[in-house]
């Protein structure tokens, strides 16, 4: 088109197409939650996302973001804290992009599984029941006995197994199914975050958990959908409210299958990185790479209000759903 002189007719046509494009775009995106101005061209950032909203997902991404399961707490004779959790593996169809259903395998009916949280030195007891159709296990990252490792003690459908270990070391761990074939069992949704708080608590902060995952909806060995917390563009369609000046802490776990690496890039800010949830900061950066199974704690504070994007710096992953926005506001933040 560049070498074609713009005739009067072409200009008129272009105008009509522009209006039609605008109408189509606003219908597609919906005016509701997005903060962006009405699309005026095909370059409008709001066009680059899924169309519609997930209504049959297994989690509410806003609720999941800040929800931690501390278990049923009791005191042992030796004074230690016992935390008991019940986890069931169940098959469930979940919506992984608006209108796209996926036959997931889940812990407690949700993907990611519940975010389990304990303090270093606690006795953790997880009663695991396999209510699914394939054999599953729970394999926790951490330091524990071999028989509690969830690899060779295969739990067949209808069977149960109780995992018991002392929560250590302090940091950000992950749990996932280790039944074979391993890749399929993880990819289909059997994973979750396991936080072990240090005995000396971290400074007070607003805390969030983000599990970086994806879904291979056509089972061709590559992901069609990427996300932080399962639902693509969830925090883009509904930005995460952040209070200006308040310390933010993200527990970020990469459990993506098929793609060797993932990443997190934050706009307009830098974060302090605590590798594997260590208490020692290791980096001050705005982009960090995650291998499969890698997880880090990110701490940051926004000193300016406005919309700040965060996403994988693999642009492909970002445009296929792993992208969100922090909406930094003055004073009390509300969703």
């Amino acid at each position: 088109m560049s070498d074609t002189p713009l005739s009067r007719r072409a200009l008129i046509t272009r105008g009509v197409v522009g209006v039609a494009g605008l109408a189509a775009a606003s219908r597609a995106v919906g005016a509701a939650e997005r903060h962006l101005v009405h699309p005026v061209s095909a370059h409008d950032p709001s066009l680059s996302a899924t169309v519609g909203r997930v209504t049959r997902g297994s989690i509410d991404p806003m609720a999941f973001l800040e929800h931690f399961e501390y278990g049923t707490i009791s005191r042992l004779p030796d004074g230690r804290t016992l935390r008991e959790y019940r986890i069931n593996a169940v098959d469930r169809e979940i919506e992984v992009a608006p209108g796209v259903m996926y036959p997931a395998w889940t812990y407690n009916g949700q993907v990611p599984g519940p975010t389990l949280r304990a303090t270093e030195g606690d006795l953790v007891r997880v009663e695991f029941t396999n209510a699914g159709t394939h054999a599953h296990t729970m394999h926790f990252h951490g330091i524990h006995a071999a028989r509690m490792d969830g690899v060779y003690e295969v739990v067949h459908p209808g069977q149960s197994f109780t995992y018991e270990f002392t929560a250590k070391p302090a940091g950000l761990q992950v749990y996932h199914c280790h039944a074979v074939p391993l890749k399929r069992h993880i990819a289909k949704g059997l994973y979750g975050t396991f936080i072990i708080d240090p005995r000396v608590p971290r400074p007070p902060a607003r805390e969030m958990v983000m599990v970086l995952n994806g879904f291979d909806t056509n089972f061709d060995g590559s992901n069609e959908v990427y996300a932080a917390n399962t639902i693509p563009f969830a925090y883009h369609h509904q930005p995460i409210p952040v209070k200006k000046g308040e310390l933010q802490r993200i527990y970020m776990v990469n459990i993506l299958e098929f793609d060797l690496i993932n990443s997190m890039h934050m706009h307009g800010n830098f974060f302090t990185l605590y590798r594997t949830g260590s208490v020692q900061p290791s980096e001050f950066t705005d982009t960090v790479m995650f291998c499969q199974g890698e997880r880090h704690i990110l701490e940051f504070t926004y000193e300016d209000t406005g919309q700040f994007m965060f996403h994988a710096h693999q642009s492909e992953f970002a445009e296929l759903g792993w992208m969100g926005v922090f909406n930094v506001v003055d004073g009390e933040a509300t969703a």
Partner: protein
């Protein structure tokens, strides 16, 4: 068959109807189908690129309805609208409009993600704006005139030469015509079958080509066949008109292919290509006049034959450039092949008239020469 015989056909028909009701209404069908997920099949029949917009025309050629949930362009989820509905019924159609800043002369990939998570990919190998009807009819008319009308008319001008030939050389020219047409027919059939691979499975590309070829041939055989068997000039004129019609139908398909290739930017119609087509198609003019070379046809008749053979190229180019679909193109190419088959059969009957069998040095050599001429001129358009 009298009316009293018809009822005998009713019993098996009634039984068949009963069986259909039994299978569909009693749940037997569900048991046959089992608990398998639906079979999904979507085919993009046409892509339209306009400023900052990609429009895809789809057909569901599979056995089950398909719901398009999301659209991914170049590995990015993208806003889109789909008309009339996200769910495309069996054999139904839909149009997807995507406001997308596509890049001229570069490749793009559109992937449709269905409600079951299946994906259908569509390549745009070279993005150029799809010509709008009003803006480009002139260009397509020019293409049609240069590669269709003018070469055929020039070919007609071989008439005075043909008239002065001895009987053997005239037979040679008739046989040459048959060779040209056989080459054209095989070439077009190949193209039709190749294109039919892109047709939605429900529309059965190759059987459709067969239907086009056989249908056209048999129809022409039935309608025009008897006239070509008339002895003398009247029969020869009928053959000439049929040759013109057959070539016309063929050129329509050829125009369709050229127009669509031009429209999607696949064919840079350089001077060389146009010249090649001109040489190639000039031979078609010879084919038309050869049967009537000794009959002193009037100028008006000749022009009529030339128009019948050449002008369809223009219409084909228009249609191909503005509303191309693989289904339509392979069907029209097949129709052209059917017409050619009919003409070749009529020509062979003309060789036989001499009473010395069909294959003499003049006829066999002529057919062979026709094939060689087409092959050599075909090199120019490759």
């Amino acid at each position: 068959m009298t009316t009293r015989q018809w009822p005998w056909g009713l019993l098996p028909l009634a039984l068949l109807a009963g069986l259909v009701v039994l299978v569909t209404q009693t749940g037997l069908l569900d048991r046959l189908r089992g608990d398998f997920p639906p079979v999904e099949q979507l085919t993009v029949t046409r892509t339209v690129l306009s400023p900052e917009q990609i429009t895809l025309h789809l057909v569901n050629g599979g056995p089950d309805p398909v719901t398009v949930a999301q659209v991914v362009v170049d590995e990015a989820f993208w806003a889109f609208t789909i008309e009339p509905s996200n769910t495309v019924p069996r054999l139904g159609r839909a149009t997807i409009t995507i406001p997308y800043p596509w890049v001229e002369y570069e490749a793009h990939n559109v992937m449709l993600l269905t409600s079951t998570g299946l994906t259908f990919e569509h390549e745009i190998p070279l993005a150029v704006a799809t010509p709008t009807t009003a803006g480009s009819l002139g260009v397509f008319t020019m293409i049609g005139v240069y590669v269709g009308v003018l070469p055929v008319v020039i070919g007609l001008l071989f008439l005075p030469l043909l008239r002065r030939l001895s009987r053997e050389w005239f037979e040679f020219m008739l046989a040459l015509t048959a060779g040209l047409l056989i080459f054209l027919g095989v070439d077009a059939l190949h193209e039709a079958i190749e294109l039919s691979a892109e047709v939605a499975p429900a529309f059965q590309g190759v059987p459709l080509v067969l239907l086009g070829v056989m249908g056209t041939w048999l129809l022409l055989q039935m309608v025009a066949g008897p006239r070509t068997r008339v002895e003398g000039a009247a029969g020869r004129f009928s053959v000439a008109w049929l040759v013109a019609l057959g070539i016309g139908l063929h050129n329509f398909g050829e125009g369709l292919a050229i127009g669509s290739a031009y429209a999607v930017g696949e064919a840079a119609l350089g001077a060389f290509l146009v010249v090649g087509f001109m040489l190639h198609n000039t031979t078609e003019g010879i084919a038309i006049v050869a049967p009537v070379a000794q009959d002193r046809p009037r100028i008006g008749t000749l022009l009529g034959m030339g128009a019948l053979a050449g002008i369809p190229t223009i219409f084909g180019a228009w249609l191909g450039g503005t509303a191309f679909s693989p289904l339509m193109a392979s069907l029209f190419l097949a129709i052209g092949v059917g017409a050619i088959v009919q003409v070749v059969v009529a020509l062979f009957r003309m060789f036989g008239c001499a009473g010395q069998g069909v294959w003499r040095p003049s006829t066999a050599g002529g057919v062979l020469a026709g094939l060689v001429v087409m092959y050599v001129t075909g090199l120019l358009v490759a």
